[in-house]
């Protein structure tokens, strides 16, 4: 059977599997097929979630090569552990936990690199916008990513889940296995650090 990903059907993954919501019939079928070992179903899940998984990995690691490794690791974990997923829980939450754990595992392996030049190179090569304007914007974005990448892991993860994925405090708390109060406290602390280090953006 050929499965369609959320994006193929014109629905965004967030809308389809809204965090904490009960899975719709299509998603449930895809996940169940994946649990039975259906390769097409796995491909459909991959297509639906690849950007979210890769984005979290990239924003957390600050390095595209490391992000590829983390994303690969996450999907291989998904493939080998999909049998453990129970339909009554949130698939998004379950998958986010896999990504977070892969990020932490990678961090433990001690690989941390935050390249500065990639974004600037892209900006110079972009023809449409004024090179200077784009350079400045890219420089700002790069600076934000760099500062975020230098946050302590527990602060960095809440920032990434909050701003890359747009998750609410209680959703982040559920993924990280802590209280919403802890999330709020970490975010508050992270905001203060970011404000100080990015004050030149004002």
């Amino acid at each position: 059977m050929l499965w369609k990903s959320g994006k193929d059907t014109g629905r965004s993954a967030v809308q389809t599997n809204g965090f904490g919501m009960v899975l719709d019939a299509h998603d449930r079928d895809v996940i169940e097929a994946c649990q039975r070992g259906d390769a097409d179903a796995f491909r459909a899940l991959f297509e639906t979630y690849k950007d979210r998984v890769y984005s979290i990995a990239l924003r957390y690691s600050g390095n595209p090569a490391v992000a590829m490794d983390i994303a690969q690791d996450t999907f291989l974990k998904l493939l080998s552990r999909i049998g453990e997923f129970r339909a009554e829980s949130s698939f998004d939450s379950w998958l986010y936990r896999l990504v977070v754990n892969s990020c932490i595992d990678d961090q433990r392996r001690g690989r941390r690199m935050t390249p500065f030049l990639d974004g600037l190179l892209d900006a110079v090569c972009a023809p449409a916008e004024s090179v200077l304007h784009r350079l400045m914007r890219t420089e700002t974005e790069q600076r934000v990513q760099d500062v975020v990448a230098r946050l302590a892991p527990e602060h960095r993860m809440v920032i990434v889940l909050r701003y890359t994925e747009g998750l609410a405090y209680d959703e982040i708390a559920k993924i990280l296995g802590c209280s919403a109060g802890t999330v709020a406290s970490r975010l508050n602390r992270a905001h203060k650090i970011l404000e100080r280090r990015l004050s030149w953006c004002r």
């Binding site: 690849k50 291989l76 080998s80 049998g83 934000v144 990513q145 890359t164 994925e165």
Partner: protein, 186 residues
């Protein structure tokens, strides 16, 4: 939080498109999908361990079973016929490395028949009060402390002393005490 920070963070950390080669990398490294949970695997392993333990117990029966079997066989299969306790003790030591403290001069109620070694065990066949008895001796598990006599079945008793495991089987439960005189004083 300062109002300028949130849009900067949203812009700087926005979601991006995963590179196309991600799928190729996953496909190349892919393992067969899991069809069951790890719980199933744990149960399967537990069952395998139990089956292996059962199989092991069948392949290598405990000493008690060996002793009863030897008792049923009587003097059949005895490789070394000897009525002299000192000679028998020396034979056992030479063939198995076990030292069985047989009484140099047993009472008249104890009649030695002989011995045979089976793997790391030795079976000493004799008669106690005119009825068959078997003393089976093997090395106890490493570090095993002494264990007092325990009655495994009606006519079988076992114990551990000085790193050796003893299993005594007599034709009649009432003969067990008499059979002890192979090694012990009255």
């Amino acid at each position: 939080m300062n109002p300028w920070l949130e849009p900067e963070l949203q812009r700087g950390l926005r979601e991006v498109t995963a590179p196309a080669e991600l799928w190729d990398r996953i496909r190349a490294a892919r393992v067969p999908p899991s069809r069951g949970s790890h719980r199933g695997l744990i149960w399967a392993l537990a069952v395998a361990v139990v089956l292996a333990a059962v199989a092991l117990s069948l392949v290598r029966p405990p000493d008690e079973r060996f002793a009863l079997q030897a008792l049923a066989n009587g003097s059949q299969g005895i490789g070394f016929h000897c009525q002299n306790p000192a000679q028998l003790r020396a034979w056992v030591r030479a063939n198995t490395g076990l030292d069985v403290p047989l009484r140099p001069v047993p009472p008249s109620s104890i009649q030695l028949i002989g011995a045979r070694n089976v793997g790391a065990r030795v079976e000493i066949a004799y008669q106690a009060g005119g009825r068959d008895a078997v003393l089976l001796v093997s090395k106890a598990d490493a570090g095993r402390s002494n264990l007092p006599h325990s009655r495994v079945a009606g006519n079988v008793s076992s114990w551990v002393t000085d790193g050796q495991r003893y299993t005594l089987a007599a034709s009649d439960p009432a003969d067990l005490q008499l059979a002890c005189k192979l090694c012990h004083l009255d």
